[in-house]
Symmetry: C2
Subunit: 156 residues, 2 copies
């Protein structure tokens, strides 16, 4: 299985980077993981302009991942339990192309064009998290999903 | 405003501890923060026994925080947006005792006795997080709530 994380802006906090490394290492047992980091449009004149510029770059990257299932993290998307999320991953692994690209937008989110270009919009919470911390939370969820799929013990 | 975090088991991962320190520091501007860490019942013979033992200790601590609003993090609780969570904190600060104790259970959660002893059960997500990572996610939410209450800029 191949999993790609498409994100906007470098990970700034060292503690988040450290947590990410831990889960990237653990995930090697289950999938090949690719990470694509787009530049944050810090030169944009407004929030809207930043969203538009970053979303354009996201769309470009999606077009070079045509055989991937496209899943966007979006606060207004569908909330899944960890078990439901695991089933989704398993289905794509076993009955579809076995490739997923997860999209995590920038600080202000993404445009409707991106929303329409994806196969699934996934909401981790009704609460807003920083677009940095969501990376860590979400990578842990992917790892948890594989432990559920494989029936591997993962407590704590 | 006084905020107490009642949690079970030490924070094991250094990157989570580092993130917690960052938000503890930032929160000093808004409230006094107390942290109580109960021992994890690692000697318990079963999951159920561990839940019962840890929950007994939680109840003891709650009884010495009688004038505090008691809020339990619980996957089956109410999901609030960050804005709704901020309103809840503001109401307690401005119109009630100004003291909250947040309870984060151990690896297997808490007993129904604890569920019944609290004023509010709050769910951050339909997904399961580790009881360690939830500390970081949740402290960030408390900080975010205060920035919303105070109209302070907090982006990223």
């Amino acid at each position: 299985m191949k999993i790609t994380i498409l994100q906007v802006g470098k990970t700034k906090d060292s503690y988040i980077e450290e947590g990410l490394k831990e889960y990237e290492k653990r995930l090697q047992a289950f999938c090949s993981l690719e990470k694509i980091t787009l530049k944050e449009s810090t030169g944009a004149k407004s929030k809207q302009e930043q969203i538009q510029e970053e979303s354009k770059e996201i769309i470009k990257k999606l077009s070079s991942h045509k055989d991937h299932k496209k899943i966007l993290l979006d606060i207004s998307g569908r909330a899944l339990s960890s078990e439901e999320f695991a089933s989704t991953i398993k289905r794509i692994r076993d009955f579809e192309t076995g490739k997923i690209i997860f999209i995590i937008g920038g600080p202000y989110g993404v445009s409707d064009t991106v929303r329409k270009a994806v196969d699934l919009r996934l909401s981790l919470s009704k609460s807003t998290f920083t677009h940095q911390m969501i990376r860590l939370i979400f990578l842990e969820q992917i790892y948890r999903a594989f432990t559920i799929i494989e029936g591997k013990k993962y407590h704590y």
